[in-house]
Point group: C2
Chain length 451, copies 2
């Protein structure tokens, strides 16, 4: 397919059409563009232009566009729409997307928008979904699904299914519930079609069905669905009643967002920001880590000040400060990244002591190899005495081993405490290893060189 390309010419054309109120040209231009691409266009327009387009197009298209817009753009457009106009958009959306939008509305608006929704059943479902924590299976699920009662016969079942399926974009599975609404299993379409119409559902359904609890974390839902290759999974409440369904497209978003968050944390960015956000937002996201890094740097400065004798007696030691610091930081980040990823993928098994032992050994191998390279280079490249070189080499091995152990221990510790271990791989580990590295370096040099 010819991929859609957002060009400056296209934006200029659209802005001109809006300015001259040339609606027919605008409609025919946008007609063949996918809603996800129109959302990209609107993200580039100003508030008035964006609102103009949303008001111009039909709500079956604009509702989908709204779900794809950047949060701040959507917020400002919704601010220009009446409660009735917003309700019309919500009527077109699946309950999960509708609830996400309602969740972003100002409190005083929510009540009014909900009361304007035409389909009262739909409105009730949206209100139900608002109760759930955004960061849970309940916050991800939609109410749209196809379910049949185990006490129905096949004929009733087929009739009811036809009605229900009208509201469901992709059926995926037919779920079976009992009189209390509890999930009992699922139904194979094939069995349904090859069974006598008088057979009861309870005699043909498959009792084995994967499901998740409404309070389950999105990452766990993502893990289950991708491990078992599921395209949809039913969600049950605390007493086992079928309350919703999560589909794979929502999970793709969870996986993407989770990966982005971990990546940003590893890079020392504390909020979800994008390259095109404002300077203020970007500064807020970066500032905490920069400050922690700075405190680390000042901490290291204090430590070095404490070894005054070294500054005068063995000035050559000072030139290797960056080496110690960089190595400690790198090893710490490497070790922690592997552990964090292992924890996220659930591939870390066995006892914590075994893991630490392995990292210790790994650090020793890497540290000895690095020290070996250092000894050769320092012999030819720097005017260090043998004793000085040996002191630096031993410090290097110790720093590496220490950084590896700390890099492993901190994420495991955070994870046990219920804190997202991804936070550990950022400048947090780098900084603490920087400072510890300097301390270890000078302490070992002091013992060996005796200042």
């Amino acid at each position: 397919m010819i991929p859609f390309k957002l060009t400056e010419e296209l934006i200029t054309d659209i802005e001109n059409f809006i300015e001259t109120k040339n609606n027919s040209a605008l409609l025919s231009l946008l007609e063949d563009i996918h809603y996800a691409d129109i959302a990209e266009i609107i993200n580039e327009l100003n508030e008035d232009e964006a609102t103009y387009i949303i008001k111009l197009l039909e709500s079956d298209k604009t509702s989908d566009i709204l779900t794809e817009l950047d949060d701040d753009v959507r917020e400002s457009i919704l601010g220009n729409l009446s409660a009735k106009e917003i309700a019309e958009e919500l009527d077109e959306l699946d309950t999960d997307d509708a609830a996400d939008i309602v969740g972003e509305l100002p409190k005083e608006m929510v009540q009014r928008v909900i009361s304007e929704i035409e389909d009262r059943e739909h409105a009730k479902d949206i209100v139900d979904l608002l109760r759930f924590d955004e960061n849970s299976a309940g916050g991800l699920m939609a109410k749209e699904l196809v379910k049949v009662n185990e006490n129905w016969n096949v004929l009733t079942c087929v009739k009811e299914m036809r009605v229900q399926a009208e509201n469901v974009t992709r059926v995926h599975s037919i779920y079976v519930v009992d009189d209390e609404g509890k999930l009992k299993g699922r139904l194979s379409l094939k069995d349904l079609l090859t069974t006598s119409t008088k057979t009861h559902i309870k005699d043909v359904y498959i009792a084995k069905v994967d499901y998740v609890n409404v309070n389950e974390k999105p990452e766990e839902v993502a893990r289950i669905m991708s491990k078992y290759d599921l395209e949809a999974i039913p969600v049950i409440d605390e007493i086992g009643r079928l309350v919703g369904r999560i589909t794979i497209d929502d999970i793709v978003d969870v996986i993407r967002e989770e990966a982005e968050k971990d990546y940003q944390m590893a890079a020392g960015i504390s909020q979800d920001v994008e390259a095109d956000d404002s300077i203020w937002e970007l500064t807020k996201a970066r500032w905490p880590w920069l400050l922690i890094g700075m405190m680390g740097g000042l901490g290291a400065a204090s430590i070095i000040s404490g070894f005054q004798e070294a500054l005068t007696k063995f000035p050559v030691l000072l030139i290797f400060i960056p080496l110690m610091q960089a190595t400690a930081g790198n090893v710490g980040v490497q070790s922690s990244a592997i552990v964090v990823q292992g924890l996220a993928n659930d591939t870390i098994k066995g006892a914590i002591w075994g893991r630490l032992g392995k990292e210790l050994l790994l650090g020793l191998v890497n540290g000895l190899a690095l020290a070996f390279v250092f000894l050769i280079i320092s012999h030819f490249g720097f005017k260090t005495t043998y004793l000085e070189s040996i002191a630096v080499g031993i410090a290097l091995v110790t720093v590496v081993v220490n950084a590896a152990v700390i890099g492993t221990f901190i994420p495991i510790f955070l994870n046990k405490r219920g804190i997202d271990p991804a936070i550990a791989t950022g400048p947090f580990i780098t900084t603490s290893n920087d400072v510890l590295g300097i301390l270890i370096y000078f302490s070992i040099a002091k013992v060996i060189l005796g200042f």
Copy 2:
């Protein structure tokens, strides 16, 4: 659902059953366990035990297990199976999974395994898929799909579809091709069922269909499918013929792997490793970055040696080396991470100069704020003169601005050259900023303090 838990007791039970050849106990234990979970169990067993289980279970279950195993475990099990046994597994698998396994076999084995596959059509499809680069849409796609000729009438179409659908796990879409096999569009099941049986397909099909070219990169396929919320996408060859189909479950794997790779690169790990890999593998993956970091550290050592006067006249400057280095490294990683992510998501628009200008401004804001904090702390905490503090402060601002600009420029530059920009966020940027930071620091201090 009660999540499957891999316990040591379970492994011990299974090992005991294997040792005592208690097949019935083993079969009844494994019967209710999902193939993805059995794969996890087998990953923990030794080669003989693993092979025993694969030979014991039926090939409709073991074929799925094989696709989920760790690469090295699968390789050693396949080494213990005959060509005929492997062919039986392949007969059960979809063509894409089968081709992946054949691609891992030793060359001398491929021919023999292929010739043992019972379903010759299936064997031909697998051979077709082997031609494609693993890192392309062709390498991801399966041959299983439902397609109808535009010249058929609805009756023929329904008959043919029934036959084809037997080999396809999930139908998703019905594709329409012409006599030459070129993709023309898709068919809605609803239209098919509500149209007279004599109508020709060419009169009812929908010409608008998303597709990708067989040479498209997996990341681009993932981007398209997740942007347009597609659960399956057809693949065409160079002259437009429908040759395969990619489903969302394969794309979930691509997204996960891509995210993991970027994360590991950012953490300075150059190969795809897991926490449970051998010490040797882990060392290989980490070593290149450690060596680069070390070279950076030694480079910094040379620079400091070059400023000998500073060591004697202004010893206090030396204690702030870690501060400069840590700040430069952190800012560089932050800037590059945002750009790398923006490039990956295709959210970076506009000219490179605008982007650099923004980072420059951002660096200036952050740098000035950090320098302000530094001046306060150094005044109370360290015995620096006013001039020394000002020199360090100005150096700090310059180092931050420089790191921000470099962190932005390098990924954009690499991307333009067709190199994966993710490589830039690792110790590569940290290291070059470390070294540059020290150089800038001493140069500015030299100008201001005049040594």
